[in-house]
């Protein structure tokens, strides 16, 4: 009886402790998602003042919408372009910043500072770098005797320009996680590897890289989520153009919801996004997590 009551008490405390977080979690994550699911089955736009149930029409229209497919494939390319590269670069940066003897502070600062520059500021700076005629890049290309390039005005280059900028912005942030991970690898492992005369490449392949696997997991999850939620720069740089070549899913949701006021469609798009992110998370969680120890 006594034990029962103690258990009860612990339960109550635990739930009370969790309550504040839970309230906000419910109010701003789960309730909105639920509402969105409902709204996605309604027609609610400028042409219909009172929302009415229209089944899966929004989803049907979405599948027929060329722009939707374009932003989706853009987003996948954007993820493919940013996630592996910035993760790999971050690892390289961390290995270097960890070992380098002279100018450690400078190197770390140089790699890391883009993290604390707001994306809007980044976009302003890079817009000027990419601008033809007098942007920095155009001057550099002039030095090398290459012609000018209209980076943001061309359908193929614009995505590369964005990807490079985002790698610049993110790599330093991920580096910090790798630096943290490197501290946790015991020096003895390296010493014994050195005793055996292993080359530094072998050490990296056999010791460092496998032991950093949890960090890699963590970083790639963040990088992946970021590739879907980072759209601030589009507002400043291209508005998704030319012809949606740089448009991403979240920016399209923003346009649909707040420029066109097509709330049903915006809801359907949001649901696609949520499902996509959860699916990827589930794949990562179930396939990779078994190999990696978290606690």
């Amino acid at each position: 009886m006594e034990a029962q009551r103690a258990k009860w008490k612990v339960n109550m405390y635990a739930w009370l402790l969790l309550l504040p977080s839970l309230i906000f979690l419910l109010l701003f994550t789960f309730y909105p998602v639920l509402q969105t699911i409902i709204l996605s089955f309604h027609q609610a736009d400028l042409g219909s003042p009172e929302p009415f149930f229209n089944g899966v029409d929004n989803y049907k229209l979405m599948l027929e919408d060329d722009v939707f497919w374009k932003v989706l494939s853009n987003n996948i390319w954007f993820a493919l372009g940013t996630v592996p590269t910035s993760t790999a670069l971050a690892l390289g940066m961390a290995l270097f910043a960890n070992k380098v003897l002279r100018g450690k502070g400078f190197v770390r600062t140089a790699y890391f500072y883009p993290t604390i520059v707001p994306m809007i500021a980044v976009a302003n700076i890079w817009l000027f770098i990419y601008t033809p005629e007098y942007g920095a890049l155009s001057h550099v290309m002039e030095w090398f005797g290459k012609g000018d390039m209209n980076w943001l005005g061309d359908q193929t280059y614009v995505m590369w320009a964005m990807i490079f900028m985002v790698i610049w912005k993110e790599a330093g942030y991920f580096m910090i996680f790798y630096l943290a991970g490197l501290q946790n690898i015991s020096q003895e492992l390296y010493e014994s590897a050195a005793m055996e005369g292993a080359s530094s490449w072998t050490v990296f392949r056999r010791v460092t890289f496998p032991l950093l696997m949890p960090t890699t997991m963590f970083v790639s999850i963040i990088a992946f989520t970021n590739s879907f939620k980072l759209v601030d720069h589009l507002v400043i740089m291209t508005k998704g153009g030319p012809d949606n070549a740089s448009n991403l899913l979240l920016y399209y949701i923003y346009e649909t919801a707040f420029s066109f006021w097509d709330q049903g469609m915006a809801s359907a798009l949001t649901i696609v996004m949520v499902v996509l992110l959860l699916a990827v998370a589930a794949i990562q969680f179930f396939s990779l997590d078994k190999k990696i120890h978290y606690n």
Partner: protein, 267 residues
């Protein structure tokens, strides 16, 4: 040899990484009419800064951002500490389910739910308020996980000892766990502050008035206000004004920041 080359390459990368900042800094001090030409001259002016400061209420924007960032951080620390303690030290009914619910927030952050959350805020009549900007971020699953990991490493004996001395539950949390997790708090604080200092889409959507508009939105509006053509020097000056305080804070405390991060984050 190879090491030398990669070393030089990585230094080169660091210089390359610095370039955008230096370029913006340089442009911001150039006289307006020289901003677009590449020719080197020693013209130097504060005009751009003066003009920007005059043209938009950046002081108000600073204050707004500051209040929002601090408000979010305080709330997050409270909610995350309580939740992290529960997850780290208590066994209770529904723990695993709740844990997964929290996980979902990491995968589906509030930033993605801009449209539905706008509706929630509208229903609460909190559009165009600072509290409205903050509310969706009051619970941070990331913070909960970070703190939970740290709390787990704190030995149970310490808690027992404190209990023997007559500390109650809250005091134990406050006197034992919080101080021991200080580096984690700093690391989390760094992430949270830079995140909300950066945040743009959400405040853009829900704020209308100067009284509530944060720096990022103010900067975007300022930079976009030139129908007459890009004013690079002035936009660069505005950009530098926005990033400077945080950059300065970072440069001053970079060692502490990075070290505390290294010793707590990503474990």
């Amino acid at each position: 040899m190879i090491r030398r080359i990669t070393g030089a390459g990585m230094f080169g990368l660091a210089v390359l990484w610095m370039f955008p900042l230096l370029w913006a800094l340089w442009t911001s001090f150039r006289p307006r009419e020289h901003a677009t030409s590449w020719s080197f001259s020693l013209d130097f002016t504060f005009d751009n800064y003066a003009k920007v400061w005059d043209a938009a209420p950046f002081a108000q924007y600073y204050l707004n951002t500051f209040l929002i960032v601090i408000g979010v951080l305080m709330a997050q620390i409270i909610t995350a500490t309580l939740a992290a303690y529960a997850f780290a030290k208590l066994r209770f009914w529904g723990r695993d389910v709740l844990f997964i619910l929290f996980l979902v927030q990491i995968m589906v952050p509030a930033d993605i739910l801009i449209f539905p959350n706008y509706n929630v805020l509208r229903d609460l009549s909190l559009l165009d308020t600072k509290i409205g900007i903050m509310l969706p971020y009051f619970a941070s699953a990331f913070g909960v996980f970070l703190l939970r990991q740290t709390f787990k490493t704190i030995p149970h004996e310490l808690e027992e000892a404190a209990r023997m001395e007559g500390c109650n539950w809250f005091q134990i949390l406050w006197r034992v766990y919080v101080p021991l997790a200080r580096p984690t708090y700093i690391a989390f604080g760094l992430v949270s502050v830079s995140y909300h200092w950066n945040n743009f889409m959400w405040p853009l959507i829900i704020t209308n008035s100067v009284e509530n508009r944060p720096l990022t939105v103010g900067l975007a509006i300022f930079a976009q206000s030139f129908e007459t053509g890009a004013q690079w020097a002035e936009v660069s000056a505005a950009t530098m004004m926005v990033i400077f305080p945080l950059l300065l804070a970072f440069l001053m405390f970079q060692r502490q920041f990075i070290n505390s991060f290294i010793h707590s984050g990503g474990k």
